[in-house]
Symmetry: C2
């Protein structure tokens, strides 16, 4: 439940940039696809990848470059343009545009999805290579909280236009929803609601902090119910041109009728993905950001679920498998990639359930639900302003999570103030400036487009500046927060934890892997060694690659034979 | 030198919003005025106000609402509009506009300054009342780092258009200047430059970290010199319409000839200030922000200069005097208010010179220099892109200083993440949204304008949301960072410090003040008591107002008789 509201949010954010207009059936198919591939990715990651109880879902780090790519003139949406010029109730067919939801219109939005699919597939191959080659664990030497801070912060901030354009459909409803989220998550989050929980041993009454567990979901439901009441009583205008119409709950009801009961998503369902240099390089920033975030999540997940910190081969395999899954999501055409879902790692902390099996079952459920067209269509009843309100708070929280990286660094150091301020400021201002001025003219159109897409992706600008400044301006590991950050990643006492082998070895095939000595040179193999005779399990003799993890390794778990 | 480059920056930022176009003589008069009033305010504050070695200067917290006020349609600049439509070399007189720099043109920009003057004067009266009544020290109970954080952060971020529009005159020059600032302040800041320092006892060689002390000033000078070389060699285009012309150093040379040798600024020099509700309420957010920042500065300044933490009466008197000085700056028409200059407090830390006399002499120098028209005109030689580059880094640092308030709060608390993220996100997005959508229609034009100005002032939106959330969402003082923040304000061991009386009593008049018992009820009097028989000097029996300063008072200095 925690993951689903986040996963289905992405297609709802992207429906306008994809030019899907009012084609609710199309949106419901996209929702089905993204649920399906998220389930698939969760199964693959938890079983063959990093093997931690991690839910893979959609990610807003891919949305930022997607918006930048689709902001190019050739992807301007003719439907949105027509509505803007001639009013919302414009007759599209009289303008020579195919009717909304017709094959002609579907081809228009499919073309945009195919462009994003191609970009995701090719950019993710890069991640596959990084995982397979073990580069990531090497690069971690140079990546600290001061690089991550601008990336995550700017991801959150730069999405505000998505939230505000949805909210503007009916500001009061959006504000009410934000108020509900605030109320649930901050004021009454500790209220214990009596519930009945049933297990094999029978049912018993218990008290759950429901509001604290599902503030977004509950706000969405209650916001929708309020809109339903306002729709039935006709307080909200029923005329499509009037302000507030978008808050009605009956505008998308026919999608429930039209959507197929069973719709099986398959690779290439929107046609063959198209690849362009601008798309690929633009998307790369999303892939890199998601990848860095994921590695942090592996450590957080291991800590919360009582597993030893992931060894290098598990990190590499996680990155590799995430890359493979991103290629899959690209091939299936969810319009998004996949990354580890931080929210669900938080849920492990709240529920104390850190079982890999639970996550695998959850993944299977998503995979199955994604095939039921009418289930996906249900989400379309949520009015846009309600979605906008919850998105705004979500983006604000992403911003704050990014900023919370400041806890690791020394804020009395003027070096750090510089390395914090400059990337955030330029990430914000350069992207705003490029968007509002058609300023980049190098003489080569492709390079112009590429630079425009990259520079209008705030997290790319901020991340690159932050990375360069943090690695060139003199400062100790302590000042830069790298020491504290690594300690926080690994967590405290680990004597009572299971062995690495137990948690991170691959199922069934381990025996055969151990026999093939050549696999020792493969960074994603559980038997991966860095130099002849030195294995990852043997902590005192780790090779060069492990310098990055010195801080971690000094506290690591008892070694095992390999 | 530290203060001057910051003070003169404000008129250079405001010349375009004021519609001063190429009237360099007018700008030089404005620079003279702001130097004069800054000197005056410094003298008043350090002598009769809080009596700490604090430099009063211009402040960007007033620039943000100024830009919002002047963004209203009636203040649109006809010169900028004409240049945008017909090219930069447009003939204004043929369009019915007075020639640039003529009396007619001066009246156009004077009208805008008068509107800002009126707004500053009336809004600052509010600060005078707050200081005089002692409300500020009471309000501090509710103001913590979580309120200050969004205010300062958003002040920095929201000024990026000023920096980027100046930089766009020649991006490469601007980038070079930013690079110089970065180089000086971060990479070679510890380089010791051999200098000769002379005192009464004769001259001797010493080594100063020049680049670390004056990174901005040196970058401005070197950037200007490079532009001068590029101008002389005609690398920069000499045609006014061409890109890069604005980086030339000879465009404003005639101002040196035209500017008067002596130009004495006086109150009402631009005519009688005009007052509008929109202006006053808009400016109020600047006044409040500057005031809160100043109180923090008093503590920082006292700590760094070895004085005991300021008692309530000194804080109240500081706020009161700053309000009075703001009224003066409004009357004189510097186009800005005045506030304590944080940079110079930093300089006390660097130079270990915390003498009140030094600051008073500095103030006197500014006051005198402000009367020399040709001195002020000198600053106009700095090319716009060089200014833009230094501004960008300055704004980025302001952003970072705002964010550094996170060091006091518990960043593992999801409450705090919410209280950090929501104000910053909405402060940014609401102001962007209001600027790009003409969306506020209440039916009353004045209210529409007022709301537009307030909502497009990010620091107002962020500050109000932060203040409300921080004071209503349950959280301990420790979690909210109030405890750590107050401790940091007061600083460590104070046994060796001079007594409060020595530092904060008023000169000459103290004897008479002590005789007038009725002054005990005046919050700005050194004899101020809160309840009958309880004086601020008597630390064990402080009244209700002091609750806010419990943390401070427990560590306070030896009491004195009153």
């Amino acid at each position: 439940m925690t993951a689903v509201s986040g996963i289905i949010a992405i297609p709802l954010m992207l429906r306008d940039p994809f030019c899907m207009d009012d084609d609710d059936v199309g949106v419901s198919e996209l929702i089905g696809t993204i649920l399906f591939v998220s389930g698939l990715a969760t199964l693959l990651q938890s079983t063959l990848g990093v093997r931690l109880p991690i839910v893979q879902g959609s990610t807003i780090t891919f949305v930022v470059p997607t918006l930048a790519i689709l902001a190019q003139p050739q992807w301007k949406c003719p439907y949105a343009a027509a509505r803007e010029e001639f009013g919302v109730s414009v007759n599209f067919t009289s303008m020579g545009l195919p009717a909304v939801g017709s094959e002609g219109h579907r081809e228009i939005w499919k073309k945009r999805i195919r462009e994003i699919q191609g970009a995701i597939i090719v950019a993710s191959l890069f991640q596959v290579v990084i995982g397979l080659s073990g580069i990531m664990t090497f690069a971690l030497k140079f990546i600290g909280p001061l690089t991550i801070l601008p990336i995550i912060t700017l991801t959150g901030i730069s999405l505000y236009p998505v939230g505000s354009s949805m909210s503007s459909g009916q500001w009061w409803i959006a504000i009410m929803t934000m108020f509900l989220v605030t109320l649930f998550s901050q004021y009454i989050n500790n209220l214990r609601i009596p519930t009945v929980s049933c297990t094999n041993g029978g049912c018993r009454r218990s008290h759950l902090k429901l509001f604290g567990l599902f503030p977004i979901l509950l706000a969405m439901i209650i916001g929708t119910l309020i809109c339903a009441v306002l729709t039935v009583t006709d307080v909200l205008p029923s005329n499509i041109g009037e302000w507030g119409y978008l808050a009605r709950t009956d505008t998308s009801l026919n999608v429930l009728r039209k959507a197929k009961w069973v719709k099986f998503p398959y690779p290439g369902q929107w046609g063959t993905p198209t690849v362009s240099a601008v798309g690929v390089f633009g998307m790369l920033s999303g892939v890199l950001a998601a990848m860095i975030e994921s590695v942090g999540d592996y450590f957080a997940c291991a800590r919360l679920s009582g597993a030893p910190p992931p060894p290098l081969h598990a990190i590499n395999r996680g990155v590799f498998m995430e890359g493979v899954c991103c290629v899959f999501t690209g091939a299936w055409g969810s319009g998004n990639g996949t990354t580890s879902f931080s929210e669900n790692i938080g849920v492990i902390g709240l529920t104390k359930v850190g079982s890999r099996r639970v996550v695998q079952v959850g993944g299977l459920m998503m995979l199955v639900l994604g095939c039921f067209g009418k289930f996906a269509a249900l989400f379309l009843i949520i009015p846009q302003p309600v979605l906008g309100g919850t998105f705004m708070i979500t983006f604000a929280m992403v911003t704050a999570v990014g900023l919370s990286n400041m806890q690791y660094i020394d804020l009395n150091s003027s070096r750090n103030l510089f390395v914090v301020g400059v990337p955030i400021f330029f990430g914000l201002s350069l992207s705003q400036w490029v968007k509002s001025n058609d300023a980049i003219h190098t003489g080569n159109e492709t390079i112009d487009q590429l630079l425009t897409v990259l520079f209008s992706t705030g997290m790319f600008v901020g991340g690159v500046i932050g990375f360069i400044l943090d690695n060139t301006i003199p400062g100790t590991d302590e000042e830069r927060g790298i020491k504290k950050w690594r300690e926080a990643l690994v967590g405290g006492d680990e004597d009572s934890l299971p062995s690495e082998q137990e948690v991170y070895d691959l199922p069934l095939v381990s025996k055969y892997i151990r026999r093939l000595w050549c696999l020792r040179y493969l960074p994603i193999s559980p038997t991966f060694i860095i130099k002849e005779g030195r294995s990852t399990g043997d902590h005192d003799t780790q090779g060069e690659l492990n310098i990055a993890f010195d801080a971690i390794d000094t506290k690591a778990t008892p070694s095992h034979e390999s």
